[in-house]
Symmetry: C2
Subunit: 250 residues, 2 copies
């Protein structure tokens, strides 16, 4: 009799090829979790399927990813948490384990996500945070970035901000909060929305930074959205600055 386990976890994505299991490498978060859960439960490797709330890109971090898996085990929640943390490498931490309804699905039931993107433009090299920051060549015009950000808030067709140009389904998403903060040479951008397309956050960040450095105008954003063409938006910001902060459920 399998139970449906819900996991909340953190990871430093630096050395991983992203969340999603890949056949030719085990260095994915999902792959690591499935292998460790197979070892703990004794279930065959192919039978353990870990469903994540989203599929973070290579190099992207998470503070509170949510996932679920149906497991055939006698272990209770805390015992499973301890066993998982014992066998997982030190750049993946299971923070919570809960047995939940068989109907819970980490991806389908997610109703919102918060991402944070962190940049730094100081003269000192940030040696202790270097894997979690994107280094900028100077201070961007943060006011222009804030003006541009306002155009992204709301329900829009974000096709211009979708990394998968062959994506067949709807590219309409809603961003209800986009905040940009600046403090001692650190710029942080917080995005909350009901869901994000492939690379969407990184393309939005790249576009906002292009505005900040004068390559685009804040007032170009409505036209970029309108165009529904990836070629019109800015560059894809590097992965290391991005972190999934929270996943919301009803």
């Amino acid at each position: 009799m399998k139970s449906n386990f819900k996991f909340t976890l953190s990871y430093d994505g630096s050395r991983y090829f992203g969340w999603e299991h890949q056949p030719n490498t085990e260095l994915t978060i999902q792959g690591k979790l499935e292998r460790v859960l197979s070892g703990i439960t004794g279930m065959p490797e192919g039978d353990v399927k870990v469903i994540g709330a989203g599929r973070t890109d290579a190099g992207v971090h998470a503070r509170a990813m949510v996932a679920n898996a149906f497991l055939d085990t006698e272990l209770r929640e805390d015992a499973l948490l301890n066993e998982m943390n014992r066998f997982l490498p030190d750049d993946i931490s299971i923070n919570e384990v809960k047995i939940c309804s068989p109907r819970f699905h980490a991806r389908y039931n997610a109703i919102g996500k918060t991402y944070r993107y962190s940049c730094y433009f100081g003269t000192r090299k940030p040696v202790f945070e270097r894997k979690y920051l994107s280094i900028l060549s100077g201070r961007p015009d943060v006011d222009a970035m804030k003006r541009a950000a306002e155009f992204l808030v709301g329900e829009h067709d974000f096709r211009s901000f979708c990394g998968n140009t062959h994506f067949k389904k709807s590219t309409i998403r809603k961003i209800d909060h986009l905040e940009i903060t600046e403090k001692t040479c650190h710029i942080r951008m917080y995005f909350h929305g009901n869901g994000f397309l492939q690379n969407q956050v990184r393309i939005m960040v790249g576009t906002l930074l292009d505005v900040g450095f004068g390559k685009l105008a804040a007032e170009d954003i409505p036209e970029i959205l309108e165009a529904r063409d990836r070629g019109r938006a800015g560059h894809t910001a590097e992965a290391r600055g991005l972190c999934l902060m929270k996943v919301d459920y009803e």
Copy 2:
């Protein structure tokens, strides 16, 4: 005509065999600095001698190490800083460069140093800080550690806390401040003194933790100091939790 340059630098010591240049490996902080300075100035490698305020062990970090070197270069302070940061790896940052008196010697003129040791005992694995924390198996008795720490403050013969058991010179040192703080599963120990023997901070930390976990009593410390025997003090705490925070000069 050589000038005497004073450097303030930070480094993540995780992948280095410590500060001190070693003949068989270039992976030391001093070795990296000397190689980069030789490349920038055109001086032969053997002619560039970087003098550090102290010699941090393998794996120990620094937020504000101070060093000096006599360099034959036309470069001014800021230009040299930029060139050094450009050629140094991203786990070493030069934060300040100043031309100083030819009489300045980073080690001989240092009159005080502050070290911080960081431990963590939470159930969540600290994935983003894991290289800068020592993981404890549970919460130690912090009050007992504080009582033990009081016995270490003052001028004492710290031979029992010296990693080099064949050390010939005086092992008398003065610790004028030792503070232990606890906050959300993090314990931090701050040491300020006029100088520290080899491994002294790590042996003091290991001894305080041994008190915290009941292997030693706080009241054993005076006898341990008295014994002048490395075998009487506690274990040597691991390097990753240690960071040189500041070096004082007149």
